[in-house]
């Protein structure tokens, strides 16, 4: 099964890395140029003392932002992905496993698809990996996908069904030794 996107982690790490790199490089440049001034610049401190309320509020907002971003980053990394059930009208709940199995059974009927794995990753959103047989007509399978997802949309009674599809082409068929 393809893994979920790690964009949040990557963006957070990139921002933190850039900040650390710029701060480090800047401090190193000032050190090498032998700038004989305190690290906490007195002019900046004086300005902060003159605008005490503003700088305090600014610092608290920055602190809150760091807490929120940091906790979300850590939380996202440690929690497993959710596979939410879908609540229909009249209190009927379709479990995520049922949706995934139904779509999997449907998509495996498509000519050229040898196996499929489907996961529900949103309310409703799908991620699936299709393994195509060697010599399968990729364009035909690709066109058929809309039909499969259209049936899923109709069955679930939704107008949009965001889906990420990964095609594994021309995979070698498993051979069983007897």
């Amino acid at each position: 099964m393809i893994a979920r996107s790690n964009r949040t982690e990557r963006v957070c790490a990139a921002i933190l890395g850039t900040v650390a790199l710029l701060v480090g490089a800047g401090a190193l440049a000032l050190h090498l140029r032998r700038v004989d001034r305190p690290v906490l610049e007195p002019r900046v401190l004086d300005w902060a003392r003159d605008n005490l309320l503003l700088s305090r509020i600014g610092a608290i907002v920055l602190g809150l932002l760091l807490i929120v971003v940091g906790l979300r980053w850590a939380w996202r990394a440690v929690t497993p992905e959710k596979h939410p059930d879908l609540a229909l009208e009249d209190g009927v709940v379709v479990t995520s496993g049922a949706i995934a199995d139904a779509v999997k059974a449907d998509v495996e009927q498509v000519d050229g698809v040898s196996s499929a794995s489907v996961k529900v990753i949103g309310e409703p959103a799908l991620r699936m990996k299709l393994t195509l047989r060697q010599g399968a007509d990729v364009r035909a399978v690709w066109q058929e996908l809309d039909g499969v997802l259209g049936r899923a949309r109709n069955a679930l009674g939704v107008t949009v069904l965001p889906t990420a599809v990964r095609l594994d082409l021309a995979a070698r068929a498993r051979q069983r030794v007897r």
């Binding site: 990557r10 480090g24 700038v35 305190p38 807490i67 940091g70 996908l145 599809v165 990964r166």
Partner: protein, 178 residues
């Protein structure tokens, strides 16, 4: 790299949140008129201090590593055209290479082929005992071009073909001097 980013993310996230909490605690402490929470060494520390160099180097190197990690932890995939709204279809460059490889090996006169594929380029190295490069190469270029064109790839990669054939070796080999 993806695993490393996943493992580091909780710690980095908690560190960022901790820095934010420390900042707010310091401001709150000072606001309440209880002096400073953090030690006051920074006011006495000048840019010329050796500790600044060490800290700056550590920060710059750690930032650079984090940036590289964030850049390399992405999954590389080939984007196909979207068959419907909200549906994203991708495949891997290995899968593309497999498809092209199967197609090339099917051609008459090709004894073997190795294919490397990326987002931008498909490179085929074919070997043939029957044909020389001049006759086989244009044909293979056409076949590979059609195969790639047959796939609904969003940005079509360039195709290059090299043919190795014993027929292309010089017939009159210069005598080896002893």
């Amino acid at each position: 790299m993806r695993v490393l980013l996943r493992l580091l993310s909780p710690f980095l996230g908690l560190a960022v949140a901790g820095a934010g909490a420390l900042l707010i605690a310091e401001i709150a402490w000072h606001w309440a008129g209880r002096g400073h929470l953090l030690p006051r060494t920074l006011t006495d520390l000048a840019w010329t201090d050796d500790r600044v160099r060490v800290a700056a180097l550590i920060s710059a190197i750690a930032g650079l590593l984090l940036l590289i990690l964030a850049m390399t932890a992405r999954r590389r995939f080939l984007r196909l055209h979207d068959p419907a709204d909200g549906v994203v279809v991708t495949t891997s460059s290995t899968a593309l290479a497999r498809v092209v490889g199967h197609r090339v090996r099917k051609e008459e006169g090709v004894t073997g082929a190795s294919v490397t594929a990326s987002k931008r380029k498909v490179h085929v190295r074919a070997t043939s005992r029957l044909h020389d490069e001049a006759t086989l190469r244009p044909h293979l270029l056409q076949v590979v071009g059609e195969t790639v064109k047959g796939l609904p790839i969003a940005r079509r990669p360039k195709v290059s073909v090299v043919v190795h054939s014993p027929k292309d070796r010089p017939k009159h080999r210069p005598e080896v001097r002893r």
